[in-house]
């Protein structure tokens, strides 16, 4: 029954590789940008606070699939160049996920007392040194469970990139399905692969959550 998987295994796994590549770039970019978005959301400078807040509110109220479409179809009109699906998907995901990670980091920064920041400033550290060595690492540790959960969501969301023709796991499953008409096995297999990856991720998250509670270090 699952012979269709066996015959197309290499092709399907190639799709999983694309899924991973997209997810890793989306997460690296989304988390990296999110750290800064979170800082900007707490900025006292209105020139930073308002534009970034508008960006966050806009993106968080648009479905991801439209953001992906927008980058793929509208960007070429603006730039005059057609974009390949993969870079278009990476940019759309980074810009979209950064708003979600940004809100997680903002919550993390808000757990840090005003006096702790003052302590860092009182030793002569600049704002960017304080952000880099104090605020970001503390927020990272305190928000680890939420960051992992959001990373799992991002990983699942990468399947949406199939709408612009990115040949990731779901797209490749549908390509095989079009030829062999074995939907149940193919989409069942894809679901199974997603489940394994995400379940492992959520267990890791749980482990850290328990550990953080036990040690109560930070």
């Amino acid at each position: 029954m699952f012979d269709v998987i066996g015959r197309n295994f290499v092709f399907l796994m190639g799709g999983l590789l694309t899924t991973f590549e997209l997810a890793i770039l989306a997460l690296a970019g989304g988390i990296g940008l999110g750290m800064l978005v979170g800082l900007a959301r707490l900025s006292k400078n209105p020139w930073i606070y308002y534009p970034i807040t508008a960006y966050v509110n806009l993106l968080r109220n648009i479905p991801l699939i439209l953001v992906i479409f927008w980058f793929y179809f509208v960007m070429p009109i603006i730039t005059g160049d057609a974009m390949a699906p993969f870079p278009a998907a990476v940019i759309a995901f980074v810009i979209f996920e950064a708003t979600y990670f940004g809100e997680i980091f903002r919550a993390g920064y808000q757990t840090i007392s005003k006096d702790l920041t003052a302590a860092a400033f009182s030793t002569g550290m600049t704002y960017s040194q304080t952000a880099r060595y104090i605020l970001i690492p503390i927020a990272f540790k305190r928000m680890a469970p939420s960051l992992i959960t959001q990373s799992i969501v991002t990983f699942q969301d990468t399947s949406l990139a199939f709408v612009i023709g990115l040949t990731e796991l779901v797209r490749r499953s549908s390509i095989v399905d079009n030829m062999e008409v074995r939907s149940i096995e193919l989409y069942g297999f894809a679901a199974f692969v997603y489940f394994i990856v995400c379940y492992t991720g959520s267990q890791i998250s749980l482990y850290y959550e328990n550990k953080a509670r036990e040690v109560n270090l930070i």
């Binding site: 007392s113 006096d115 702790l116 003052a118 302590a119 860092a120 400033f121 009182s122 030793t123 002569g124 550290m125 600049t126 040194q129 060595y133 104090i134 690492p137 503390i138 540790k141 040690v215 109560n216 270090l217 930070i218």
Partner: protein
Amino acid sequence: MIEINKINKWYGDFHVLQDVDEVIEHGQTVVICGPSGSGKSTLLRCINGLEPFQKGEILVDKTSVKDPKTDLYKLREKIGMVFQRFELYPHMTAMENITLAPRKVRKWSKERAQDKAMELLKRVGMVDKADAYPANLSGGQQQRIAIARSLAMEPAYMMFDEPTSALDPEMIKEVLDVMVELAKAGMTMLCVTHEMGFAKEVADEIIFMDKGKIVERGTYDDFFNNPQTDRAKLFLSQILD
């Protein structure tokens, strides 16, 4: 020398500092006391530029804190600050807490910063806790590490904001001992504290603040034995029992 010249600060309509005047000479220890909300913490935060103020002037070694051309980061390097709740970096060991600013701000090598840190850990009696995280240290131990962290930048001034008021009674002395030793070694210090024993031992001057104003100032004996205002008399009777 720190010169505070008639500074005034408002939070909205609330006049939190009113015509505060004070000069802290090199090597002096000045103790600030007063009821909660009288503006003591705010005054310290104005001195190292953590809070802006609207009127008046503060000069630290003749450098204006208010002047937009002043490099506040440079200025803060020479004013150490110790907080009520220690405010150690929770994700770093005691050693890392102490060496961070010398390495990143002063660009010292790791070895040099660690040598300095060990010397300071010895001074505050915490050598065996160099690799401990703050969560595993008692309040008194954390506060001594926090003092060492400030001293690592080799400041010319030290400001303390109620450094012992979050501590259990048995730990207060270990922190005060460090502060007394510092004062006697000639550090210029500005201490918000209600520890009158400490004030008696090292304070050159005591300032009493109420509702944003300095309402009384003098030596320990002046203030303690002969308070002029009713507010100070009431305050002293409250902290003495």
